[in-house]
């Protein structure tokens, strides 16, 4: 009897927690199609007008484009710099390597945190990179790199050296070995950090908000902040429609990466 009560209480509680987190999702699905959305999730009075309004707003589509540029740039920099760096850190043991890695990880949360905003702003200003995409891309990539290197190093560590050595004995050059053996084997790791970086950059508000001054360069996360009616009220119709549009690329990205590369792990060969 007691067991039963505990079970019912537990299931009831779980259902409540589930509903609590599901409600915003419901809002995200219903509100964009509602002609008079509120902050509550409600069955909509169906309309597509919100979207046609949104599409006629030139800055909305442009901001999604800006976000894509930032994501592509940061993912590109993180992969191009992070993969070779993690390979070297995995294969060459030098004194203080582990301390170095942990320091890197520790510093990364400082670099992109609010504490470093003023120095970062000044730095990009000095370099002539303020209000330009490369500046934002470098700052964001700098924040993502340490953890990415850390994760990728782990993937590389689990790749047996004998894979590379056998390729070398067959006469493969270092580049061939990296291309044919190392990269394919750590591909799940590359996929993981790509998606992780993309999601982080896509949703980052603070850094582009501070470093990009021109409204025409705002990425989607920043633009959403500017949807107000003439009366100064948040324009819920635009915000709702834009929110849905804003989530779509991330879902597509996840689906694509999962199908193409798969978040699978090949694991060792020993039977």
């Amino acid at each position: 009897m007691r067991d039963f009560v505990v079970r019912v209480a537990f299931i009831g509680f779980s259902a409540f927690v589930g509903a609590f987190f599901a409600l915003p999702m419901l809002w995200l699905v219903f509100a964009p199609f509602d002609s008079t959305p509120t902050l509550a999730a409600q069955i909509p009075e169906f309309t597509l007008e919100n979207f046609s309004d949104l599409l006629s707003n030139a800055s909305a589509l442009r901001s999604l484009g800006n976000s894509l540029i930032l994501v592509a740039g940061v993912v590109g920099v993180v992969l191009l710099v992070g993969a070779p760096a993690s390979y070297v850190l995995s294969r060459i043991k030098f004194p203080g390597r582990d301390v170095f890695l942990y320091m890197l990880l520790l510093m990364s949360s400082v670099i992109t945190g609010a504490a470093a905003m003023v120095p970062l702003f000044l730095l990009t200003f000095e370099l002539g990179l303020n209000d330009r995409f490369p500046g934002v891309i470098l700052v964001l990539a700098g924040g993502m790199l340490p953890a990415s290197i850390f994760i990728l190093k782990d993937f590389t560590d689990t790749t047996p050296r004998s894979y590379e050595e056998s390729a070398r004995v067959f006469g493969a050059t270092t580049l061939q070995t990296l291309r044919d053996v190392v990269v394919p084997v750590i591909r799940p790791g590359l996929a993981v950090i790509s998606v992780w970086t993309a999601v982080n950059v896509w949703s980052n508000f603070l850094i582009p908000f501070i470093l990009l001054r021109s409204p025409s360069k705002s990425p989607a996360a920043v633009l959403m902040y500017s949807f107000y009616t003439e009366g100064g009220q948040p324009n819920l119709r635009l915000i709702a429609a834009f929110s849905l549009l804003y989530t779509v690329p991330i879902l597509l990205l996840y689906g694509y990466v999962n199908r193409k590369y798969g978040f699978r792990f090949h694991g060792g060969l020993k039977s």
């Binding site: 004998s162 894979y163 004995v169 493969a172 044919d180 394919p184 020993k270 039977s271």
Partner: protein
């Protein structure tokens, strides 16, 4: 085709670990050569030095008539089968076998043809489209060998290729490796810590210990005339008896009595009396007697350990004729099979023993 000439190769790892110490070895063209030794004696290091994966600290290495000491691995025309097989998990069996040819810029058609041939010679037909992860240990091992075969090297290097297989498969794999090597006639260096495997496979073999070679010869030579007590203790499924004693006139004396010897007149030296358990008979009559301490069933034979005045002496007897534990039994070595080792140097002394 090519032989291998190793002269005064030394390998010192960082941290002053001497893995190979002025090692000389010559391996003939077309020979199946086994490197045998206990774990950590430097076998893998020697193999990797031949492959070029470890640069030698000093010394020189020739393959065929080329000095390859300073050549990178890819230019030595050797193929190595690693202990973990090193198959690429993201490639099919076909692509794995064809990979060395791809590196050599052989066209797609030609290299898949070669892969098909090599795979088929190792009974891998029907498995060519699988990934290594979908194969059993024995099949993975054959893929690794097929990949080595496909690149038609001058030399095969095997690093304990059977150690990850279970006993049944190991026997089978041993057979086909031997057959394959005979068919191809490619010089092969085979590293193992299993003396049975070395004896079964090798045309000639070397026993290594702490970075040096203790003896080189045919399996028969090494089994019948181990050059020192190290080799004597390492080769043979049951280790040789090494009984400490003093040379008398045509015999060896120890606490338990007088051990027979043929054809030796010198006296007084401190020696080990070496005799394999297979060459001792157990009986009721004889000079040396003791109590049976242990009997172990080896299948068709029994290993009997007799305690003679504190010295344990092992003998192998046919099943059914073994004494019971605690019995009194006599130990009768065959004097024609005895080897005498100097006790200080551990080296075989000339004169007595099997030739």
């Amino acid at each position: 085709m090519a032989g291998i000439e190793i002269s005064e190769i030394t390998k010192i790892f960082p941290g002053e670990v001497t893995a190979l110490s002025e090692l000389d070895l010559s391996i003939e063209d077309g020979e199946f050569f086994a490197l045998l030794g206990p774990s950590g004696c430097g076998k893998t290091t020697l193999l990797r030095t031949i492959a070029g994966l470890e640069p030698a600290t000093s010394g020189s290495l020739d393959i065929g008539d080329r000095d390859v000491t300073s050549l990178p691995p890819g230019d030595r025309n050797v193929a190595m089968v690693f202990q973990d097989y090193a198959l690429y998990p993201h490639m099919t069996v076909r692509d794995n076998i064809a990979y060395p040819l791809k590196v050599q810029k052989v066209g797609r058609e030609a290299r898949y043809g070669e892969a098909e041939k090599a795979g088929s010679s190792l009974s891998l037909d029907g498995l060519m489209d699988r990934r290594p992860g979908q194969l059993s240990g024995g099949q993975q091992q054959r893929v690794a060998v097929a990949r080595a075969v496909a690149c038609r090297p001058d030399v095969f290097l095997f690093d304990e290729p059977l150690s990850n297989l279970d006993a049944q498969l190991r026997l089978e794999a041993r057979g086909f490796l031997k057959q394959l090597q005979k068919d191809l006639g490619t010089t092969t260096v085979y590293v193992t810590h299993d003396q049975g495997e070395a004896l079964a496979l090798a045309d000639r073999m070397a026993v290594m210990d702490h970075g040096v070679i203790r003896q080189v010869g045919t399996p028969t030579e090494l089994f019948h005339r181990p050059a020192n007590v190290f080799v004597a203790g390492f080769i043979g499924s049951t280790p040789m008896n090494l009984i400490p004693g003093v040379l008398g006139d045509g015999n060896v004396r120890f606490d338990g009595g007088v051990l027979p010897l043929n054809g030796r007149g010198d006296t007084g030296g401190e020696v080990f009396y070496g005799i394999r358990p297979e060459y001792i008979t157990i009986g009721d009559v004889g000079d040396i007697s003791g109590t049976v301490a242990i009997t172990e069933n080896l299948g068709a034979q029994f290993l009997v350990t007799v305690d003679v005045a504190g010295q344990l002496i092992r003998a192998v007897v046919a099943e059914g004729s073994e004494p019971a534990t605690g019995d009194t039994a006599t130990v009768n070595p065959d004097p024609d099979r005895v080897l005498v080792y100097d006790r200080e140097s551990g080296e075989l002394t000339p004169g007595a023993g099997y030739h």
